[in-house]
């Protein structure tokens, strides 16, 4: 059913259609509206046979989900940013134990400085935690990915993180097609765990594993994710068959045939990039965009194929490996194996800074002009940075950078130093 609806509410409805049995809720912006929505659905009785648990922290949220999942319940929670870090230990634990929990990550920057707006720092921080990480481009895809995520998680007995851009998706009201219960049920059968805590057939779950078997455990986990590279496209295809629309998959290409330049990106920014591509195509630029939906497992082969004809690849990413540069760019480069097109790193949208079509287009012009370009920060305020560096160079007690920058920008009232 088509609805004009806030992304979070749409996701809440989609998650409810997946019949989660235990939902753990802890507020953190920008995912809060999702669990609020689910809470309302449970309270009102629309979502039945579901335990909705208000926990005391994100660490508890995922821990409750771990217990519930191990005991055979379909478990769900959501978090963002600091919350993800606070539950980091449990994030690794859930995947290590092979528990098919689905968690929404309302992508948000990580402090300090504290910042509630969108980027991908949080998701990137857990990229090696063993979770499958899927990025949604639109609210419709966010809805669809959750439905696929439960199926995928339970198929492999691995947890899945559905990454949705904070505010941009979570708080945006758009037209979304919310499927009906029968259709979802047809796609997503009841949870059948591969192992379960049950007095009928007791097991000890979560043993201590030493050097003699730890490598094998990790290898098997890796092997599962590699299998997901086959399963994700299958599910996407099956989903299309039932729901009638394209969602998920590993990578998606837009106007990349004959493209000299291909922009690679994840999440909602792909929509902006598509607009830029359309505009530049109209001006004769041979440009396209490849959207990565599955960041983990990372689809190296599919990406290599998608980028095969390009002579330059611009990786736009909303995270920064401080002291290194791009995270996604590095992985794209690895996928290309050091051959083929030149890869450019474009750090953009950190802490919620808008990614403007004009800025992006300007950068693309620049890339053509200067093929030796290094890591580039989109719309970086060079004057502010220079002034701060200059000030810090002369003053030992220079104070916190963030506040000084804000002072420069006039956002905070100046105070005597």
């Amino acid at each position: 059913m088509l609805k004009q609806i806030e992304g979070s509410q749409a996701m809440a409805e989609a998650i409810a259609l997946c019949r989660p049995e235990v939902v753990c809720a802890y507020p953190i912006t920008p995912q809060t509206h999702i669990v609020e929505g689910l809470g309302a659905l449970v309270k009102s009785g629309r979502l039945k046979t579901c335990e909705y648990i208000n926990v005391e922290s994100e660490f508890a949220a995922l821990s409750v989900a771990i217990g519930a999942s191990a005991a055979g319940a379909r478990a769900y929670t959501a978090t963002a940013s600091q919350g993800l870090l606070f539950m980091a230990e449990a994030v690794y634990n859930a995947s290590g134990l092979g528990l098919p929990i689905v968690m929404t990550l309302g992508n948000r920057a990580i402090g300090a400085p504290i910042n509630i707006w969108n980027d991908h720092s949080d998701a990137m921080s857990m990229r090696d935690s063993g979770w499958i990480q899927l990025f949604a481009e639109t609210n419709q895809e966010a809805v669809d990915l959750h439905i696929q995520a439960f199926r995928l998680a339970e198929r492999l007995s691995l947890p899945v993180m559905v990454c949705v851009d904070g505010f941009i998706l979570t708080h945006a009201v758009e037209r979304v097609d919310i499927p009906d219960q029968e259709t979802v049920d047809a796609f997503l059968p009841p949870y059948e765990p591969v192992q379960v805590l049950d007095p009928k057939e007791p097991v000890s779950l979560g043993a201590m594993v030493g050097p003699e078997a730890f490598t094998e455990v990790r290898y098997l986990e890796h092997h599962k994710q590699m299998r997901a590279l086959e399963i994700i496209p299958e599910l996407s295809a099956e989903f299309k068959g039932i729901f009638g629309r394209e969602s998920g998959g590993l990578v998606r290409s837009y106007r990349t045939e004959d493209a000299e330049t291909i922009v690679v990106a994840m999440g909602s920014v792909v929509g902006t990039i598509k607009d830029v591509v359309d505009e530049r195509r109209a001006q004769g630029d041979r440009i396209g965009v490849v959207s990565i939906c599955s960041f983990r497992p990372f689809p190296q082969e599919q990406l290599r194929e998608a980028l095969a004809g390009a002579s330059r690849v611009v990786v736009l990413e909303k995270a920064l490996a401080v002291g290194m540069g791009g995270i996604l760019a590095g992985q794209v480069q690895m996928a290309l194996g050091g051959h083929g097109p030149k890869v450019y790193t474009l750090i953009a949208g950190l802490g919620g800074r808008p990614i403007l079509k004009t800025s992006l287009s300007a950068f693309l012009d620049k890339v053509v002009a200067d093929p030796h370009l290094d890591v580039h920060f989109l719309d970086l305020k060079h004057d502010v940075v220079e002034r701060e560096l200059e000030r810090a160079a002369h003053l030992r007690r220079s104070g916190p950078t963030a506040e000084n920058v804000l002072k420069q920008l006039g956002t905070v009232m100046s105070s005597p130093v």
């Binding site: 591969v194 097991v203 000890s204 594993v209 098997l220």
Partner: protein, 539 residues
């Protein structure tokens, strides 16, 4: 499909034999409880209390009579050294072993429990001289072993000192008679009025293969006291013996008893019951030095018996005696003071000790005599092969229980001697209090046996001390700590952190799974009764 390594099948640690960590290992032991150790009759007290506390009184009684055939008598007259040795004193008070024994003895008489008849006859004949506690005990054990036993008794009735030395108010005669009869029912021949004057002659003429001599100390020891012709001076043995006859002794209203032993007390209390207004014991030392048992002194005093301490009798006349006051010197011996006192007295009873008539041994070669007794070896055999002796006849303290013990020991050695073998006995190490973990025993003070009211005590020969009822007896039996012997409390089974003990079921105790026992020793420390030893492993 369970995930590799992180999910495990339950109980799979059984493959890990942690017993290899051990340097010491627990071992179940049975130690000798102090009560058993102290019992002159060699009763396995812990074992029969173990049965009694479960309410199986017949089993308890049968365990008891393995060593002593007269529990009803014992439960009345034994001075219970077991209770003095009892470890429970370290917690509250000794277990009332004697009162439980009496309960079992009385219960057996009430229910008519009989001894098991011997399975086979040995074909050997054994002579027992004397039917006192020692003779009866020996006869019982010998008969149980299948020997043909004949008792020669000089007196008119069986029982020896139990009948002629112990007053009825302490040992009712129907109890004594019943226990004697039960022994005789094993097929023992009792010949009364049959004084043996020449033991070898009696053995030969009767065709006996061995003999056990158990003649009691029925002859009174006398002291030289200047006495007028009219003075009424008697000895305690005669007084007590005549209590068994038709004619009661004539003691008068004011009776003085001279001596400080239990017999002196018995006579004074008897005199009181015969109607004496004054019954006065004269003793030359102090109460602390008195050989009589304290509880008997106490009971006598309760009944109105008076005691003059630190006094010797220097002269006796028709209606009075003269007493000299004494003082104890620094070594504790009484010394005369030269101060005299006159006490009104119709009669003076001397209770100064007793001797055995050893004349039946006159013609036996190879004997060694000592202070009016005959020496025996560790097997209770005299210097003459085949002749054994016990009770008052041999150098020893003289109590009913010791006599019973002699009888048993002699019987076992006679049996061995008749079979041409040595009787061997092995004693386990003692179960000391230090080995116990008294925490596990609840607080439970001793049960006090009921006493007859004072008016009837002063006027009748009814039994002074009552017995326990079943509830009390059960309670008392359960006060037993079971020192050194497993009583299946399940502590070891419970406290093992390694689940390394198997409970084998009631009566079968426990087994240690040495594959898993790490040798921590908690089981031994927490065993209430000290029945587990920690033994070094050979590594």
């Amino acid at each position: 499909m369970k995930p590799f390594a992180i999910t495990l099948d339950v109980g799979s640690s059984l493959a890990n034999h942690t017993g290899s960590w051990r340097t010491v290992k627990p071992v179940y032991v049975d130690r000798l409880p102090p009560c058993n150790h102290a019992c002159p009759a060699g009763e396995n007290i812990q074992a029969w209390l173990y049965r009694a506390e479960a309410g199986d009184y017949e089993a308890a009684w049968r365990e008891l009579v393995k060593n002593n055939p007269m529990p009803a008598v014992m439960g009345r007259v034994c001075y219970h050294p077991c209770e003095r040795a009892c470890n429970r004193k370290g917690i509250d008070e000794a277990v009332g072993i004697n009162s439980v024994e009496r309960f079992l003895g009385d219960e057996a008489l009430r229910r008519g429990w009989a001894f098991d008849k011997p399975a086979t006859a040995s074909g050997k004949k054994v002579l027992v001289v004397g039917s006192g506690p020692s003779g009866l005990s020996a006869a019982y054990h010998l008969a149980s072993q299948g020997h043909k036993v004949t008792i020669f008794e000089a007196g008119l009735a069986a029982g020896g000192m139990m009948r002629f030395g112990i007053p009825k108010y302490r040992l009712p005669r129907e109890v004594l008679d019943a226990e004697i009869q039960r022994i005789l029912s094993l097929g023992i021949e009792l010949r009364l009025n049959a004084k043996v004057t020449d033991i070898r002659e009696t053995m030969t003429s009767g065709g006996f293969d061995a003999a056990f001599l158990a003649v009691g100390a029925h002859r009174a020891r006398h002291a030289e006291i200047p006495a007028g012709d009219a003075a009424h001076v008697l000895d305690a043995v005669s007084v007590l013996r005549s209590m068994e006859g038709v004619e009661k002794p004539m003691l008068g209203r004011r009776v003085v008893v001279y001596g400080g032993g239990n017999t002196a007390i018995d006579v004074a209390r008897t005199a009181k019951r015969l109607g004496a207004s004054d019954a006065i014991i004269v003793y030359r030392r102090t109460r602390e030095k008195m050989p009589a048992h304290d509880f008997e002194v106490e009971e006598a005093l309760q009944e109105g018996v008076m005691i003059k301490w630190l006094s010797t009798i220097t002269e006796a006349d028709q209606s009075s005696i003269t007493v000299e006051k004494m003082v104890l010197d620094d070594k504790g011996f009484p010394q005369p003071t030269g101060k005299f006192e006159t006490i009104e007295a119709d009669s003076l009873v001397l209770a100064l000790g007793q001797e055995v008539d050893l004349s039946l041994l006159d013609n036996v070669p190879g004997l060694e005599l000592e202070n009016g007794t005959v020496r025996v070896d560790a097997n209770m055999m005299t210097g003459y092969p085949g002749i054994f002796a016990g009770g008052d006849m041999v150098p020893s303290d003289r109590t009913v229980t010791i006599a019973v013990g002699h009888g048993k020991k002699a019987a076992r050695n006679i049996d061995a001697w008749l079979h041409g073998v040595e009787f061997e006995t092995k004693k386990a190490p003692l179960a000391e209090f230090e080995r116990l973990n008294p925490w596990y025993y609840g607080d439970a003070p001793k049960t006090v046996r009921p006493m007859l009211d004072i008016i009837r005590r002063q006027s009748s020969f009814d039994e002074v001390q009552g017995g326990l009822d079943e509830g009390n007896a059960l309670y008392e039996a359960r006060r037993c700590l079971s020192c050194g012997n497993c009583f299946e409390c399940d502590n070891c089974y419970g406290v093992c952190p390694d689940n390394a003990i198997t409970k084998l079921g009631e009566g079968a105790r426990f087994a240690i799974k040495y594959d898993y026992c790490k040798g921590c020793g908690i089981c031994a420390t927490e065993c209430p009764c000290g029945a587990i030893d920690m033994v070094a492993e050979e590594i």
